[in-house]
Amino acid sequence: MKAPKMTYARADSVAQALALLAEHGDGANVLAGGQSLMPTLNMRLSKPDLLIDINRLEDLAGISVEDDAVRIGALTRHAAVQRSPIVAEHLPLIAEAMPHVAHVAVRNRGTFGGSIALADPAAELPACILALGATITVESVRGRRDIAAADFFKGLFETERQPDELLIEIRIPCQRPGTVHAFMELSRRQGDFAIAGVACAAETDGETVTDAKLVYFASEDRPTLAANAVAAIAGKVWSDESRSAAMAALSEDLDPMDNLQGSAAFKLHLQRVLTGRVLDQAIERARAA
């Protein structure tokens, strides 16, 4: 349980980090919070030639509101996101998800961008930013580009980010009037890996869900939008029938993977249960708004 012999470089500027990535590409690992990378190093599951430590790049940390969107720097620690009044006000979905992101000691060190870049299928934040239609900015010596969250997650720990690119920031549209957010997760212990989970951003008109993004995690190889479940309820007054319809339609959206947390059938059952609960809660919040 000791990391392999490796070379370490501490980047003192974004430009320097990008130059190192351009030179080493696939052979290098970016070390941000390290809360997932360090275990893989300690277990010798990865053996990079070079670790590029970006923890001193203060330019990449911070939360601000710009043009109706919240900008979260890639190096912003989970603890800072959890404490942020901006996030609490404009991104209630993220605020609700944060207590589920690991444990306090991990949140003090782990970063928002790191969770997005890693794309762990059981992680909360990739699902949230997909539900909220976020934009991810990456940069390399070749330039900067924006990637929609819908195009970013490609598979199991696979993203649209190229080996020479560094994640810079995530821009997430502020919650608009008439939309409600809800987040639910099941795990064995608070902060553990999810067995099942869903992030919901819904547009409502009275008791009717007019449109929604339901994104499931801990299920497929990446966070997954459930279009059929939403189609089953869109435009209908929320009722026991529409709840059942959404739960039934979910099997057309999800084909969960077996893993240590549970079998595919168990996970699909739990995701169905969460579907009913999360939409109940969304409607309840719409009523209260």
């Binding site: 990391a3 012999k5 070079l50 670790l51 000691a105």
Partner: protein
């Protein structure tokens, strides 16, 4: 610029330390092996158990999930430092009083994590205390006595400050 070893200078429990470290050495191996500070324990070495918890610039972190080389310029506090300063003396007393440890392996991590919760001195329910400590494993006590000890300490501190 990129190295397999590096000389780092950091503050550990208030004292400045300068040492040559391997890039691959994680912080707790450095604290235990190089500095003889064996209060921070190594359980799982992949961030699950919490026995290695230390303070990095004032906040609790997993000591096995950061490299010693990254602590260059940082301030680290271990359970030895917290004990010497007296910051957790009341908590330690309550751990003893309530038998909140048996083998003691998890205790340093529990103390450091609980110290972060107690720092705020705001009322907490037992459920909130459990959630806060949920990242630290204990295999002996069943947690009940640990939650008791933390709760008692918090109550005593709140009484004292009111």
């Amino acid at each position: 610029m990129s190295d397999e070893t590096k000389t780092i200078t950091l503050t550990v429990n208030g004292e400045s330390v300068t040492k040559l470290v391997d890039a691959r050495t994680h912080l707790v191996d450095f604290l235990r092996g190089e500095l003889g500070l064996t209060g921070s324990h190594l359980g799982c070495e992949h961030g699950i158990c919490g026995a290695c918890s230390v303070r990095l610039d004032g906040d609790v972190v997993r000591g096995c999930l950061m490299l010693a080389i990254q602590a260059d310029g940082a301030s680290i506090e271990t359970v030895e430092g917290l004990t010497a300063s007296g910051e957790v003396a009341d908590l330690q007393e309550n751990f003893v009083e309530r038998d909140a440890l048996q083998c003691g392996f998890c205790t340093p991590g529990m103390l450091i994590t609980a110290a972060e919760l107690l720092r705020e001195a705001a009322p907490k329910t037992r459920e909130e205390i459990r959630e806060f400590l949920s990242g630290n494993y204990c295999r002996c006590t069943g947690y009940h006595a640990i939650v008791d000890a933390v709760e008692t300490t918090l109550t005593q501190r709140l009484e004292k400050s009111s």
